[in-house]
Symmetry: C2
Subunit: 670 residues, 2 copies
């Protein structure tokens, strides 16, 4: 359909969609950067979606049962900003639109979760939105099973581009959604045939409809500029019990001289081009000037859901007050007080039992406590359930046949798992955790970064956290991964030393307002915290685990499996008359947040300091040489290369991560 036909045949639609188009043109022009063509091309689809299908109420943007709209093709951010502004979201003012991409504006270059209501997730890194959406849809299914269809019954809509579909994570998402039969997930593919470098065909020949269909999706297609065709396709998709993909054939930068070109993908800032495009649209209004009648029509769309919202509120009111409170608690991420008591009880039992356990197994034991208290946890593993110990007995499998199940078989899809967990956390009502081998944080890293950027409560259960993994060899042994994850702002990295610290770490993960990575061992570890403490010592990041017996001449600092190595080294050194303190440091981030007086008590000036950790040194100099330290009296026992394939005990000997090597490092520095 060419634009003259479109305009003639659907004048009301045309005006609304064109308001979106010109807002994108105007904002990109003002910012002198951004992406004009995608909002121009997808304005018709978005208009039909918001006008005819999307369940939302602009004046109640936090409505728990709203449909979720995810702009996976986040570079087209002006599309969502325009939609939110025109439909009347209070915080998306025209001033924000005018300040597109400027410091402090809600209208960042890519949609940023938390900047404005209606932005359900941060997108921009391609493929993430579509992969988040699978988690949104899973959360909806889980909550519906728990609270009933009267309270939870909504769709997740996604606009995805060719870039999203080329990124590998999209395949993981498509595969997971297809298997899970997520019928309320609908992806609108902006099939414009253009990427930054040119036509899609220079890098891909994939038949996307066949690809989605191969993974268990329903597929539809439409002219992405014909409002009736778009409406009909969405209607059909809503009927399908399977996730649906609608190929919307569109023209990027429609109506401009850059239409259907890679130039049209980017920032259209040429004055003549913009003037010509406005003329082609028959749009006579000035920049950022949307006629009142068109605004009014959009506002009506924004208010359309208000009745449904009120009806929903009434239905919620028919639940028992306990059930209502529980729904609100789960949606807001509150933690019931009894969890803390349960964890204290568990810690006490375990301190007394003092059993040698791998911390991955400790984690399973703690999860038994947590999962019993928090019905909103949904665990899972990327096909290593028995190794990651994520499945506690009462969870059941989350599946199309059992939406009350709480453990997901994510398949061999670390990246898709992390992205889905972000979606669950963002949706609300679910506390997701998922496991894989720690070395495969590399596969999941782009989504883990978004957990941190969006401050989402996602728990990463990363087991086999060192050469202690053993025979699988260097491809499976993390060496640099603790450092790499600690480098990420906002990622809480905790490497507990035993079952007690693992319980404390989990308590912190559940109470956090951001993501946590738990680094857990494959190999058994003795309990180092045999004296019970009700206080969560791990929350301090580091603490004195064992004081020097004689004059304090050395401080050993260790994390995780190396804390018991440090304790052994202390025994050797004390036997030689070298007073040695052992500091357990499960979390550098948390220790850095303590006040200086506490940090000084833990790490006073003077003694030799040696850190022991089966990873690279990077990051440790902060505690060895800075923080009242002295580089001439600082040592490190750890890894400076990749690992090797052999039984774990042999590897620790081979790479010199032993009590004797630690003691020797101290002697060398005294």
């Amino acid at each position: 359909m060419n634009i003259d036909d479109l305009r003639a045949r659907h004048p009301d639609h045309w005006n609304k969609a064109t308001a979106l188009r010109v807002l994108a043109l105007d904002a990109v022009k003002a910012a002198n950067s951004g992406h004009s063509g995608m909002p121009m091309g997808m304005a018709d689809v978005a208009t039909v979606l918001f006008e005819k299908h999307l369940k939302f109420d602009a004046s109640n943007p936090d409505w728990a049962d709203r449909d979720r709209f995810i702009l996976s093709a986040g570079h087209g951010s002006m599309l969502i900003y325009g939609l939110l502004h025109l439909t009347g979201y209070a915080d998306m003012t025209m001033d924000q639109i005018r300040n597109f991409r400027q410091l402090g504006a809600k209208t960042a270059g890519h949609p940023e979760f938390g900047h404005a209501k209606g932005i359900e997730t941060t997108t921009g890194p391609l493929g993430q939105g579509i992969a988040n959406s699978v988690g949104f849809a899973m959360a909806e299914e889980s909550l519906r099973a728990r609270f009933g269809k009267k309270i939870v019954d909504h769709h997740t809509y996604v606009i995805a581009g060719d870039g999203c579909l080329m990124e590998g994570v999209s395949q993981e998402a498509i595969g997971l959604a297809g298997k899970q039969k997520l019928g309320k997930l609908i992806v609108l593919w902006d099939d414009n045939g253009i990427t930054i470098d040119g036509k899609v065909s220079i890098s891909d020949v994939t038949d996307q409809m066949a690809r989605f269909e191969a993974s268990g999706w329903s597929v539809f297609s439409c002219d992405g500029h014909d409002p009736e065709a778009i409406d009909e396709a969405i209607r059909q998709a809503k009927q399908s019990p399977l996730p649906s993909m609608i190929a919307c054939k569109t023209h990027i930068a429609i109506g401009s001289s850059a239409q259907d070109t890679s130039k049209g993908h980017g920032a259209l800032t040429d004055d003549q081009l913009i003037a010509d495009t406005r003329a082609a649209y028959g749009w006579t209004h000035g920049p950022f000037d949307i006629p009142a009648d068109i605004v009014a029509e959009w506002r009506q769309i924004g208010a359309r859901g208000n009745i449904a919202f009120n009806e929903w509120t009434e239905r919620l009111g028919t639940l028992s007050s306990a059930k209502q409170a529980e729904f609100q608690r789960q949606m807001s991420g509150g933690v019931p007080k009894k969890l803390s008591a349960a964890i204290k009880r568990f810690k006490k039992e375990q301190s007394e039992a003092a059993k040698k356990v791998a911390t991955r197994k400790s984690s399973e034991m703690v999860l038994g406590v947590i999962n019993a208290v928090l019905p909103e946890t949904i665990g899972g593993s990327a096909d290593l359930t028995g190794s990651n110990n994520t499945l506690t007995p009462d969870l059941g499998a989350f599946d199309a046949d059992n939406r009350k199940g709480r453990h997901v078989s994510y398949g061999i899809r670390e990246h898709g798992m992390a992205a889905a967990m972000n979606g669950m956390a963002l949706h609300g009502g679910v506390l997701p955790y998922g496991g894989t081998f720690m070395v495969f944080t590399d596969y999941a890293r782009p989504s883990m970064r978004l957990s941190a950027l969006m401050k989402q409560r996602v728990a990463y259960v990363m087991t086999h956290d060192s050469i202690g993994l053993g025979e699988d060899g260097p491809t499976h042994q993390p060496v640099e991964h603790l450092a790499a994850m600690r480098a990420m702002p906002g990622m809480q990295v905790i490497r507990p030393a035993d079952t007690i610290e693992t319980a404390e770490a989990w308590e912190l993960a559940v109470e956090a307002d951001g993501p946590t990575m738990l680094a857990l061992t494959r190999q058994g570890l003795p309990v180092v915290r045999s004296k019970h403490s009700t206080k969560n010592l791990t929350a301090q990041g580091a603490y004195v685990l064992a004081e020097a017996e004689g004059k304090r001449r050395a401080i050993l600092i260790a994390s995780g499996s190396e804390v018991s190595v440090a304790l052994e080294a202390k025994a050797i050194l004390e036997a030689e008359g070298i007073g040695t303190r052992v500091v357990s440091m499960p979390s550098m981030e948390l220790f850095a947040q303590q006040d200086e007086a506490y940090r000084r008590r833990v790490l006073p000036a003077g003694p030799v300091r040696v850190a022991v950790e089966a990873g690279v040194r990077q990051g440790w100099d902060q505690w060895l040489c800075a923080e009242r330290g002295n580089w001439k009296k600082a040592g490190f026992v750890g890894m400076d290369s990749f690992g090797a394939s052999a039984p774990a005990e042999e590897l620790f000997e081979h790479f010199g991560i032993t009590a004797e090597a630690t003691a020797q490092a101290v002697r060398d520095l005294l």
Copy 2:
């Protein structure tokens, strides 16, 4: 086909394949770990491939024109070890097989490149092998175009499992191979329906044949235990002008009581099970005992290619000696001497011209020099060609219609690009480089780690290396990525300060025996090395760029775009009488490798030290507080959070990465 039928109908085949099966059983039993079921299940396919199709000569394993065999499902490593041993590769002795998964053995838990001949790439992290294979096949096409079919004409065969196909990177690989019409790439899918957690169907319902077909592949299927059917499928695949996928329907752990179960995926170590399986096979020989007649048949297979090898050697001999030498040089990765001279010339010109240029543009200028001297470079970008500046004018597009082209449109596939580049480097004859935004190293990280582990010469052109990226915002601004990449053993990270250092960085990348990541700016940078030096100063990792004018009271250490900030800060401080040295530190790794005397000259004890880098502090304490430093006199000007969306200059002000802030940090410490 059940095993009794198979044995009865193809007794010779049966014996050979069963030798592979029992070797896997025996080695896994001896190691008490590993994966028995996959080698057992795929032994028939592998036997047919090696006996009837694979072009190789066990006595000439480095034959440049051999077919490449890639075990993407690397956990089934005993399959390739068995094949290499039985076909007579000299270094794969029975002692190695007996020492499976033991320290120092060539038979690591997963196949490790460099451990033994015939292991073409390190596999284990799932999806990597199949993604490498695309690069192998591209390298073959490129070399064939350059040296002719007489010299280069071979296939790339891959065995991939369900795990490989579920990983997102496989979709990137499949899409790229389909677009590139890599007809000599043949993937044998071990379609056994089992993963670690159970049946594939618990996590995936994908019709893999439809999926591959959707991306432009030919697809075939066969009973993976019927040697005639396997042979026929491979024959057909070889006829196709498209890449081919053969779905080989197999039984994991065939013939054992663990057949077709997830138990069969793992280590079968139960004595009774092993005895029963041997009985079912009719195998009466002891552990590690392969009868001489079966060994002899396998050795014949290993020698089968010797004639072809000799013929090929003769054909190579018919080339001019210059052409032969050039082929050998490219295959061995040698660098012609004239490159060094060309780079020195370029440096001199640029020192004199002293133009303000973004280092991503500097990189393009240097590539112009390199690409003219080295016909084996193949560049590319993950759909950011104009931003990464990877395309120099004379390269041409590598495509099915133009195999002499030297620039690849990888599409929005950072991970697939990195994996393909590993494949190209491993194949030999190609020096690959590829670009994306530096923040997307997160997407490519699993393959970048393998570049480092395998010590492959791959150059990562990572542009937009800080908040200097500007308006695209925090999702696109690297903050922790320099630290995260520096944490990786064996990854040479270089962040040049100007065009001159960029030229030096590229010289190091080309001459390296491992991967290099170049961190390059979006924004223009002044030349800081206006005085020409023929010596490659970047090779020292850090050097004194500007000496203090008065008494040296401060040392500023900076990399990349912040070197000019440090020079400005120096000017401010010197004006206040504070003598300030500026050290440019383009590469921490290279500086750490210098002898202590040099390091002491660059970073003497005494002065205040302040580092300036638009990234996180992690890693810098090594140079600030250690290395003769003093934590009380150490400061850092950089980032401690994610970035934001705004024009770049405003961001540097906002986050306090300025000359004035740097000067103030010095004043505060004096």
